[in-house]
């Protein structure tokens, strides 16, 4: 099982140092494996460690203890610069608040992600960005800045940006939480469809019923995070 896992975490702990006091442990996870091409939904109450877990898998932050392997690579063992490069090429990240660069157009925001990796040759970046945005229904919005796009359109640009370097793993942190229900359903449907078609391994933090329904597996943080379990039972 673990041999075929796209993502494998073992005995991962994350604690944040506090001034003059004992470090605050926010995550204590025994084991988590995500099969390649699967769609996993992560849910839990606010502060249960969902975003911390995504950041650990993305290599944005490092665990206090434990191992994290993505596609066979131990990301914890990598230097920061190599981890950045690994993330650029292997992990797509969709944020709750889109986090598009305001000064760049939709096309440029997607191209920006390609600048950080060496996956797509520079001369093909604009074409690929255009193709991705067209696939997500934004062919008429390529030159628009984020401020000129609706929230749903902004999130679709963010999804295109996450897929820009064809990463095998896509992480999404409540991608529809900032959208109204109708738009959220539309964006989620297109997001799940694209990930399915491209056989991405998707780890999605969401409480959306549509997401839960479309997932191969739903994990509750209260069961996964031993810190959460102990604080929840207290």
């Amino acid at each position: 099982m673990s041999e075929q896992s796209a993502v494998l975490l073992r005995e991962v702990k994350k604690a944040f140092p506090l001034h003059g006091r004992q470090a605050l442990e926010v995550l204590d996870l025994e084991h988590l494996a995500l099969p390649a091409g699967s769609c996993t939904v992560l849910r839990g109450r606010s502060g249960s460690g969902k975003t911390t877990l995504l950041n650990l898998i993305a290599g944005v932050t490092v665990p206090t203890a434990g191992t994290i392997r993505i596609g066979g690579t131990d990301v914890v063992a990598l230097s920061e610069a190599r981890r950045d490069r690994f993330r650029a090429e292997n992990v797509g990240y969709v944020f709750q608040t889109f986090n598009l660069v305001a000064a760049l157009s939709a096309l440029e925001n997607v191209s920006l992600a390609m600048m950080f990796a060496s996956v797509v040759p520079q001369r093909e970046q604009r074409r690929r960005a255009g193709d991705l945005l067209t696939r997500l229904g934004l062919s008429e919005r390529l030159a628009h800045k984020p401020a000129q796009l609706s929230r749903g359109e902004q999130q679709r640009v963010a999804i295109a940006r996450a897929l820009a370097n064809s990463p095998p793993l896509v992480l999404a942190d409540e991608p529809c939480a900032s959208l109204d229900a109708k738009t959220a359903d539309e964006v989620l449907a297109i997001f799940l469809a694209v990930c399915r078609q491209d056989k991405k391994t998707l780890l999605l933090v969401s409480h959306d019923e549509a997401a839960l329904g479309g997932a191969d597996r739903v994990i509750d943080m209260a069961e996964l995070n031993r810190t959460e379990a102990s604080s929840g039972s207290a």
Binding site: T51, T61, A81, A88, N99, A103, L104, N165
Partner: protein, 395 residues
């Protein structure tokens, strides 16, 4: 996309702030460039105007007043000397060229300068050449038959609008002796552009006192010796005389430049302060931009941007700002120097602000380096941006 294109997009993204910062830099740079160009132009103007002759002979008094009054026409003329001094110097075997000068009043602010044809002669040692744009040079008329012909300097002709054949005079008392324009000079980029030249006999004929004098008056004589080794003896003899002084224009120039050096030192201090202000402008602009953009920087890091990449984007922005401000400032500096040159030209100083100065690339490179330096701390802030901390969902 490259670091440079992202940096340029960011600069365009906040166009108003970018423009204001670039204008601030340009103002500072233009001030530096204009000051240096003008200082250089003024010095060049002095050197160009003063180096053709080795001695200026005039009445006893201030050497600086003599040179400024006779050569640059920036000061009141010194008292007169007798024409016989010119005659004896003209005959002196040690003298190659002696040119008599009579500085008179002015017509609409343009000084009357009486001389003879030697003043315009193209000697091989002369740096300045006189060429006519129109008409002819006035004749060396005999004292008994003054021709009252005038040759106008280029600026004097342009400003007064006088043309060949026009007759003019200043003041009712001179109406009896009008001058006729017979020639207009091409620009020489010296004080001569603002002069109205005519013959000494005309000068004496127009002056009631001079008309009655047996020995005619002059303001000065310009001397070029045959051999430089004769210069000290000529200088000594003319200074021993109770009536005359001989002045080396180069020595007066040194005095003037020494006086200017004090002003230049003050100017250097002001320019240093301007440099610091420019540095602060770029720093404040880039610091606030970086602080506003921490979330975007964190996002780029989350997308895989290395710390060095976001560091490079901020530095490229600073350098871009400084480059735009620097280039615009260089051009504006020339424009300011030109306008200031026009104003200074009215007081007799003529400069050429269009001349490229070798210090300009140094200024431009310095501004770019300073601008980049000002972006260093904001770039370090970007470099150190904590990703997880700055990606926390907005409440």
């Amino acid at each position: 996309m490259t670091i440079l294109t992202v940096a340029l997009k960011y600069l365009r993204g906040r166009l108003v702030a970018t423009t204001l910062t670039a204008v601030s830099i340009a103002l500072g740079v233009s001030l530096v460039v204009a000051s240096v160009l003008l200082a250089r132009g003024i010095k060049d103007g002095f050197i160009a105007g003063a180096t053709d002759y080795n001695l200026v002979v005039g009445a006893k008094g201030s050497p600086t007043q003599l040179v400024l009054g006779v050569v640059f026409r920036m000061d009141l003329a010194t008292p007169n000397i007798e024409d016989t001094i010119y005659q004896s110097l003209h005959q002196d075997p040690r003298v190659e060229t002696a040119v008599p000068i009579g500085v008179g009043d002015a017509f609409r602010g343009f000084r009357y300068v009486a001389t003879n044809s030697a003043y315009f002669a193209a000697f091989p040692w002369r740096r300045k050449t006189f060429a006519l744009a129109a008409g002819k040079f006035f004749a060396d008329d005999p004292p008994s038959e003054p021709a009252y012909e005038a040759v106008l300097g280029a600026e004097a002709a342009r400003s007064t609008g006088l043309q060949i054949g026009d007759r003019f005079y200043e003041g009712e008392e001179m109406a009896e002796y009008p001058l006729t324009v017979v020639g207009i000079l091409r620009p020489t980029h010296s004080a001569d552009d603002r002069a109205i030249f005519f013959s000494l006999p005309s000068y004496w004929g127009m002056n009631e006192v001079a008309r009655g004098m047996a020995v005619k008056p002059l303001t000065a004589v310009l001397i070029r010796p045959k051999r430089m080794s004769d210069l000290p003896s000529l200088n000594r003899e003319l200074n021993i005389s109770a009536d005359t002084q001989a002045v080396l224009p180069s020595a007066v120039l040194l005095t003037i430049f020494n006086m200017m050096a004090v002003a230049e030192n003050v100017l250097k201090m002001i320019l240093a302060i301007v440099g610091i202000i420019v540095l602060l402008y770029v720093f404040v602009a880039m610091y606030s931009a970086t602080m506003e953009r921490r979330r975007e920087i964190a996002t780029m890091r989350a997308l895989g941007a290395r710390r060095a990449t976001v560091f490079g984007i901020i530095l490229a922005e600073s350098a871009g700002l400084a480059t735009v401000g620097g280039v615009v400032g260089l051009l504006a500096g020339h424009a300011i120097a030109y306008l200031a040159g026009l104003v200074l030209g009215q007081s007799g100083l003529v400069t050429n602000p269009f001349l490229f100065n070798p210090f300009e690339p140094v200024v431009l490179v310095s501004v770019i380096l300073l601008g980049t330096l000002a972006g260093l701390l904001p770039a370090v802030l970007a470099y150190r941006t904590e990703v997880a901390e700055n990606l926390a969902p907005l409440s």
